[in-house]
């Protein structure tokens, strides 16, 4: 059994004044100092930093910078699912008794270069043997998927704008979120087009971030239990997927989870809304809405605190909390664990006892689900 006994985050922003090591220590030093005593392993999840602030064997240098000279350390790089992969590694070390305490640090740097260069770095999340060769960024693929969705299910653009509006509304209360202002759905349509039908307000802001988790074998003072982590690889490109509007890898990862566990209810979900269309397709892959109906459910408030569904992305999501690529799913796990413990400092999900984190690389080359539950 693996438990989260500590979780911390820093605000996501363009931290021009902070190095990758400083971002990591800012997050870790927000934990009680006793909680990082006798750490057996430090696992560092990072991705874009390897292109923007190159440091090989980053984890050992971060462990030293944190003063954890007696720890063991290694890196996990898996694009946008780096953080969830690190959580799987932490749980595996604890479950196998190779460790009794593991520190997971998700940290990433996206602001060392101008946005145009950063978008090129981010485009490497795509298959470099096809899409990256043609300089096709994530935005173009998201635009293709959004138009295909609108045409296939006859959903209008305005209905699809309720998602970013909801994310901004949620983020306003989250002290760690990068974009803490509200927007209307109409404003999404009026924003600058980046990959028509997608506008600037359909996607995440560029920011740096760091979040930390302490994973232990003992439930004492735990925020939540990591009940299971599942994942699956998918097609490298939407061109190969039999139905590009289905995220095969997420459907498979989630079915692997539900086969193992009886998920009677999920109170809170943090999913991977790199684009509006990503959120919509993920909600449908998790069967929280019928295919073609998720945008309407979002617009009707189904995923809000007052709605009938689970509360989705009370943090504000990638859209408004922000998306420091390799660190993002560590934020998501920290947020869901804090919700379950009743200590999330933003929009609270009342009486949350269980939660799910969904992490996806690109548009489904790799998907992770992390299921957390309260400790009795």
């Amino acid at each position: 059994m693996a438990y989260i006994t500590g979780a911390s985050m820093i605000n996501i922003d363009r931290h021009y004044d902070k190095s990758i090591r400083r971002l990591a220590s800012d997050a870790v030093f927000k934990l009680d100092s006793s909680s990082v005593e006798n750490v057996d392993y430090v696992i560092v999840a990072s991705s874009i930093s390897y292109l923007q602030e190159p440091q090989l064997d980053l984890a050992s240098y971060i462990a030293s910078a944190l003063g954890l000279r007696n720890a063991r350390a290694f890196n996990v790089e898996a694009g946008e699912v780096s953080g969830a992969t690190a959580v799987l590694m932490a749980k595996s070390l604890v479950d196998s008794r190779l460790a009794s305490k593991v520190l997971v640090v998700g940290v990433d740097k996206l602001s060392n270069y101008p946005s145009a260069v950063t978008y090129k770095h981010i485009s490497l999340l795509n298959d470099s043997e096809s899409e990256s060769l043609y300089s096709i960024g994530l935005g173009g693929i998201a635009g293709i998927l959004m138009r295909l969705y609108m045409e296939t299910y006859k959903v209008d653009r305005l209905t699809l704008a309720y998602w970013p509006a909801l994310m901004h509304s949620n983020a306003k209360l989250n002290p760690y979120a990068m974009l803490r202002f509200t927007i209307t759905p109409e404003k999404v349509l009026d924003a600058m087009p980046i990959a028509d039908p997608i506008t600037l307000l359909d996607t995440f802001p560029i920011g740096d971030g760091a979040a930390a988790l302490v994973v232990e074998s003992k439930p004492r003072d735990a925020l939540a239990e990591i009940v299971a982590v599942e994942s699956a690889v998918g097609y490298p490109s939407i061109t190969l997927s039999p139905d590009p509007l289905r995220i095969d890898s997420l459907e498979l990862a989630y079915s692997r989870l539900t086969e193992k566990l009886d998920l009677k209810r999920i109170d809170v979900i943090e999913l991977h809304d790199s684009y509006t269309i990503s959120a919509i397709l993920q909600l449908e892959s998790l069967r929280l809405a019928e295919r073609g109906k998720a945008a309407e459910a979002v617009a009707n408030g189904y995923f809000t605190v007052n709605g009938d569904g689970p509360v989705v992305n009370p943090s504000g999501g990638l859209k408004a909390r922000g998306h420091p690529i390799g660190a993002t799913s560590v934020y998501q796990v920290a947020e869901v664990a804090s919700q379950i413990a009743g200590i999330f400092p933003g929009l609270k999900v009342p009486d949350a006892k269980s939660g799910l984190v969904v992490s996806v690389n690109g548009f489904g080359s790799n998907s992770y689900v992390v299921y957390l539950r309260g400790v009795e």
Partner: protein, 132 residues
């Protein structure tokens, strides 16, 4: 695009100059670009095949946030193109955004697709244009 080493550009030339994909001898399905095993059935028994050079638009996006080396041709139209045997994502050229509709017929043309600012390597490959 990030700096592309000349060997990387040279190695991938055939697949950019000609539409070469792989057909699986086990399940019969075609994929592009060529992989070492079939993405559908895992068979390693594959043969290279030339893909059709005409297809139709399944979906598209008009991309304004383009790389610095493509800025003078912004916006770029990107299409998800159905070649019948498989699909491809490629740039649509010689067309205005308002000319492109879902279902539009396209054909492959050889074009310069980019230049590496640092190494000066000019990259050629295929784009698609409306069938006149």
């Amino acid at each position: 695009m990030l700096s592309k080493s000349p060997p990387v550009v040279w190695r991938s030339r055939i697949y950019r100059y000609r539409l070469i994909g792989c057909k699986c001898k086990n399940c019969g399905r075609v994929h592009y670009p060529p992989a070492s095993a079939c993405p559908y059935c895992s068979s390693r028994d594959l043969e290279e095949v030339e893909l059709p050079r005409v297809g139709k638009v399944l979906s598209y996006s008009i991309v304004y946030a383009v790389d610095s080396d493509a800025r003078e041709r912004s916006p770029v139209i990107l299409g998800l193109i159905d070649l019948g045997v498989t699909r491809i994502i490629a740039e649509i050229t010689d067309a205005n955004p308002e000319d492109i509709k879902i279902g539009s017929q396209l054909e492959a043309v050889f074009r310069r697709i980019g230049e590496d600012g640092e190494t000066g390597v000019i990259i050629y490959g295929l784009k698609f244009r409306p069938v006149i």
